[in-house]
Symmetry: C2
């Protein structure tokens, strides 16, 4: 009898030890990730052809690349999901010249995404500076025929620049609408960054059907400070803005999806994703090339380490996050809730910097469950799990009750590059990028095994 | 009576509210720090004249600058502490050419700090690659007349590159000694970094009195890989190394010290510090210009916010950390233990990157007390307080029972720049640098008020 108990105990031990702990798997993922630094290798590939703006051949090339890469790294199945996207073209020229007394000064500007063109010879008008949409409204008659210059800077006392961005971006997104309401003929918007330099930042802007569509351009922070100083001194400043942007017919393209099927609960989905499109400046290395290669690398790590998740891990590389969110909307529309349940979604769309942790949008019970995985992330320094997070693409899953999680990398440098010519691969550190992929892989594994 | 109780209660409340909580002070420090970003402004100043290598006029200029700056920011007293430092000069040329068959290849090298020169026409010898000191020893007779090429890379699977550095740096510090013992005529040492590029990294090396002093140079990782590949293929590789470095007579200079006297326990010192010297490459922007300006900024923040610490906060900018630690030794020697007690010392010498937390060298009781301040550091993301830390300069205080603390910034990029031509201010982010200063200021305040 003693002998039998002994051998049963031995069997139990061997069964137990055949199942490595989550910590052991986290360590394996970390080791393998740092050994290969494969996320950066993919990013070099992805960014070498230029930007991936919606509607352009560059985006379609990225679709092919991503489909091929997902197959290569060992996804069980890979497919394309059709999406119809807008096709806005920046055009040329894109130029602003300030006239101050007898001086003519070239300003560093770029059209905001979606802007209409100016007449061929540009718009020349006096500039009025405001710090908010409310101030623009209050201008009333005085705005008529003028260029409104939105110049509320980032609040640099905000520790997290994403918060400063949230506090300034209404100028970019709604500035043209409020300016047109009071009769302005164009807007210049201070670039969305703490950095003071000559780099203009593009980004999405909107029009309203009920008011005139007026041209909208971003101006570099250095030039914004210059204009503001001149206006403070009482100088009369006028600007000639010339832009040739246009909106072409919509284009049919794709989001790219690959997954590793779950062994026990294949219909329960742990979604990981980023967006495959970028703005038409730089090469979208941080925004969101980083998120794309990190999520592909999660599948690669699972495959190479022969990890078989209980739930399905699905990597979704969304089309058209930047100027439409069409990929995410198409994805949500196509979810067959009879067949699959998205229990949790993780988005990486805050840059390829050292991961600090995750932001979680969930009720407190599920939040605590996810927070309990923090210890697995401690060695790599990504264990700050905080309430509040998610991402633009995965926000469409909220209505399905999906827990939404966003990777939180160190946020200080992101808005130095965001939506600019300098969002290029030399700003991405191979190990920082990889640690982000490792963080997602570790959390994804725990969620795929334990659920939420 | 009721009225009396009421007014006593009111008085108590007003007294209590007259003492802002540590958290309130942490918030004020954070706000003011981010508003001014003064650490970066100082770093621009400090680095504009070039490097600050021991024994050079650049270092003496930095002494004057620091003395002036400490006075300017409101230290109660500022003084210079005499230190005699070595004066090694790199010289020119500093060159290595590999001969492989008929090919001649220029290698990116630089002398290690303290190396002797080669003869005028250089040393030409066959190269033997080894991965460790032990392997060099084992070469025995075969090493005679050869150049030993130490080529053990950083272990990239280490999450923290400082750990990888610790695992590789014996090749640099002791490589020449072991090589000379087996009769080698010079050493080439793979640069101490994970990055693969053409940038050689200098750093300290030692000789032993009992063996020959042979020239020692660092070789860039890219060239190290190239040589190694050729040797793997079976090519015979010889190198001509030409260096003209020399050691001049020692020089009298200073460490710079400034303090804010404690209001209640002036003889209890909370020391904060970094080293004012740098290597003779780049401008020592991260190593350790960052630590210097952060510590000065702590005094500035205290002064500007009119914070009066109970214990003395002393900022020590040590001379000669890089090649001698003479400043720290002189400081320790001059401590009058009858008059003052160094309860705790914080060093910032790991770069000006986003602060993650602090490493603490203390017994568990005092460690727990310090760890209890983590919540004050949470908002700025610097709340990872871990056992083990300190810094080279403050290590000399260990014998006084001082608690030793090192700031832990994000470590991934540090060894990309360390001891190289590219350790320049463009690699430092103003907000990341400032958050480090804020982290030190918050912890310093708590320690000055609560002790350890």
């Amino acid at each position: 009898m003693m002998r039998k108990i002994y051998s049963v105990a031995l069997l139990a031990i061997s069964l137990l030890s055949a199942q490595p702990s989550h910590q052991e798997i986290a360590d394996k993922i970390t080791r393998k990730g740092l050994e290969d630094l494969y996320a950066f290798e993919m990013l070099e590939d992805l960014t070498q052809y230029g930007h991936r703006f919606s509607g352009t051949p560059g985006y379609d090339k990225a679709v092919q690349w991503a489909e091929q890469k997902l197959k290569e790294v060992g996804a069980d199945s890979v497919w394309l999901q059709p999406v119809v996207v807008p096709h806005w073209v920046r055009g040329n020229p894109e130029k602003a010249v300030a006239t101050i007394g007898k001086k003519k000064i070239d300003l560093s500007v770029c059209a905001l995404g979606g802007s209409v063109a100016t007449p061929k010879n540009g718009i020349t008008a006096e500039v009025i500076e405001v710090k908010s949409l409310a101030e623009a409204k209050q201008l009333g008659e005085r705005a008529k025929g003028k260029i409104i210059f939105y110049n509320r800077p980032f609040d640099k006392t905000k520790i997290n620049p994403f918060e400063a961005y949230g506090g300034a971006v209404d100028q970019r997104s709604r500035g043209a609408i409020e300016a047109a309401k009071v009769g302005a003929v164009a807007v210049l918007v201070r670039s969305m960054t703490n950095a003071i330099y000559k780099v203009p930042h593009t980004g999405a802007m909107r029009y309203a059907d009920t008011v005139a569509k007026i041209p909208a351009a971003a101006i570099s922070t250095m030039d914004a400070n210059y204009l503001s100083d001149e206006l403070q001194k009482g100088s009369k400043v006028s600007v000639t803005l010339t832009m040739d942007c246009t909106t072409l017919p919509e284009v049919q393209t794709y989001s790219v999806i690959g997954e590793i099927r779950g062994t026990e609960y294949p219909n329960e989905i742990v979604l990981i994703g980023g967006h495959l499109d970028s703005w038409d400046r730089g090469t979208g290395a941080h925004d969101d090339g980083s998120g794309v290669v990190q999520c592909i690398d999660v599948l690669r790590l699972m495959h190479e380490l022969q990890l078989k998740p209980k739930r399905t891990i699905r990597c979704v590389l969304f089309a058209n996050e930047e100027n439409g969110l069409r990929g995410a909307r198409a994805y949500a529309k196509n979810i067959d809730t009879m067949k699959e349940k998205h229990i949790v979604a993780i988005e990486s769309d805050a840059g390829g910097f050292s991961p600090r942790g995750f932001g979680v949008e969930a009720d407190s019970v599920r939040f605590l469950k996810i927070a309990s995985f923090a210890s697995l992330l401690e060695n790599i320094g990504a264990d700050r799990i905080r309430m509040g997070g998610g991402g633009a693409d995965i926000s469409v899953l909220e209505k399905f009750g999906t827990v939404l999680i966003g990777l939180s990398p160190d946020p200080q440098r992101y808005f130095d590059y965001h939506h600019t010519d300098i969002d290029t691969i030399d700003k991405v550190h191979p190990r920082e990028l990889q640690l982000g992929a490792i963080a997602i892989a570790i959390l994804t594994w725990a969620l795929a095994q334990e659920g939420v």
